[in-house]
C-alpha cells in the first residue's frame, strides 16, 4: 500500500492476494468530484479459443508495487483528479473474480476516463506480473509464453 500527495491527489496502489472489494473503492473521492470511473478486469472463461477454468497470477512483488506506484505518480502528473486507486490481485483466481480494479474520482469526466485508461494500459505493458492459465482440458500454460514468444 502507498499513498502520496502529488498535486493534492490521493494516489494508492496495491499488489496483493487480497480479494478486490469494488464497493469500498467506489466511495473514493469527495463531493468536489462530479465523475468517477471504475475499471475492473475479471477472469474470463476463454483465452485464444481455449476454455479457461482458473488463473494463477505470479508477481515480482516488490518491483510490481514500485512500478505501480510509478505509473500512478506519472498519471497524477498528467491529469487533475482527487483520487486514484489501482489494485492488482495475485494468487489463484476463479472465473468471474476480479484481477484488477482502477478507480478515478475527478471533477471532470474526460479526466476520469483518460486517466483510468492510461493506468490499465501501463499496467498491462510494464507491471511484472504473469498469468498461468488453467484450461478445461487439464493443461496449464503461462500466458504470452508460447515458444515463439519466450
Amino acid at each position: 500500500m502507498r499513498a502520496v500527495e502529488a498535486s493534492g491527489a490521493r494516489v494508492i496502489g496495491h499488489v496483493s492476494d487480497d480479494p478486490i472489494r469494488v464497493e469500498e473503492l467506489l466511495r473514493a473521492g469527495s463531493s468536489a468530484d462530479g465523475a468517477v470511473t471504475v475499471f475492473v478486469g475479471r477472469v474470463r472463461d476463454h483465452s485464444h479459443g481455449r476454455r479457461v477454468i482458473r488463473l494463477h497470477y505470479e508477481a515480482y512483488g516488490e518491483m510490481a508495487e514500485r512500478e505501480l506506484a510509478a505509473i500512478l505518480d506519472e498519471t497524477a502528473s498528467r491529469w487533475t483528479f482527487s483520487h486514484l486507486e489501482a489494485v492488482h490481485r495475485t494468487g489463484t483466481l476463479e472465473l468471474g473474480e476480479l484481477s484488477v480494479a482502477i478507480v478515478v474520482a475527478a471533477p471532470h469526466r474526460s479526466t476520469a476516463y483518460e486517466a483510468s485508461r492510461h493506468v490499465i494500459e501501463e499496467i498491462k505493458r510494464r507491471l511484472p506480473i504473469w498469468k498461468r492459465e488453467e484450461y478445461a482440458d487439464g493443461e496449464v500454460e503461462w500466458a504470452g509464453s508460447a515458444p515463439s514468444e519466450a
Binding site: G41, Y57, E58, A59, Y60, E62, M63, A64, R66, E67, H88, S99, V100, I120, I123, K124, R125, R126, L127, P128, I129, W130, K131, R132, W142, A143, G144, S145, E149, A150
Partner: protein, 80 residues
C-alpha cells in the same frame, strides 16, 4: 563480484529455480550475466535480448553491475 539473479514464471520453471547467485568479473554488464545464465540447464533458450530489471527497475543490457545487485529476468508480462 557476486550478484543475485531472480527468475519468474516460465523462466523459473525452465531453470527449476527462483533465484541463484552468480560470480562475475568486477566490470561485468547485465548482458554478461545473461550470457552466463544461458549455460545453465533449461536456460539455453533465453532470448537474445531478454527484458531485465536491476534492483527492481527496468534496465538496459549494457548497464554495469555492482556487487550485490539483484538482476531479475522478466518474461513477457501478462497482468491486468
Amino acid at each position: 563480484m557476486r550478484v543475485t539473479i531472480l527468475l519468474f514464471a516460465v523462466y523459473r520453471e525452465l531453470a527449476d529455480a527462483s533465484s541463484l547467485d552468480l560470480e562475475l568479473p568486477a566490470d561485468a554488464t547485465v548482458r554478461e550475466a545473461v550470457d552466463r545464465l544461458r549455460s545453465l540447464p533449461g536456460l539455453a533458450c533465453l532470448p537474445a535480448e531478454p527484458t531485465v530489471a536491476v534492483n527492481r527497475e527496468y534496465a538496459s543490457l549494457e548497464r554495469d553491475l555492482k556487487a550485490g545487485d539483484e538482476i531479475a529476468l522478466i518474461p513477457a508480462v501478462a497482468g491486468g
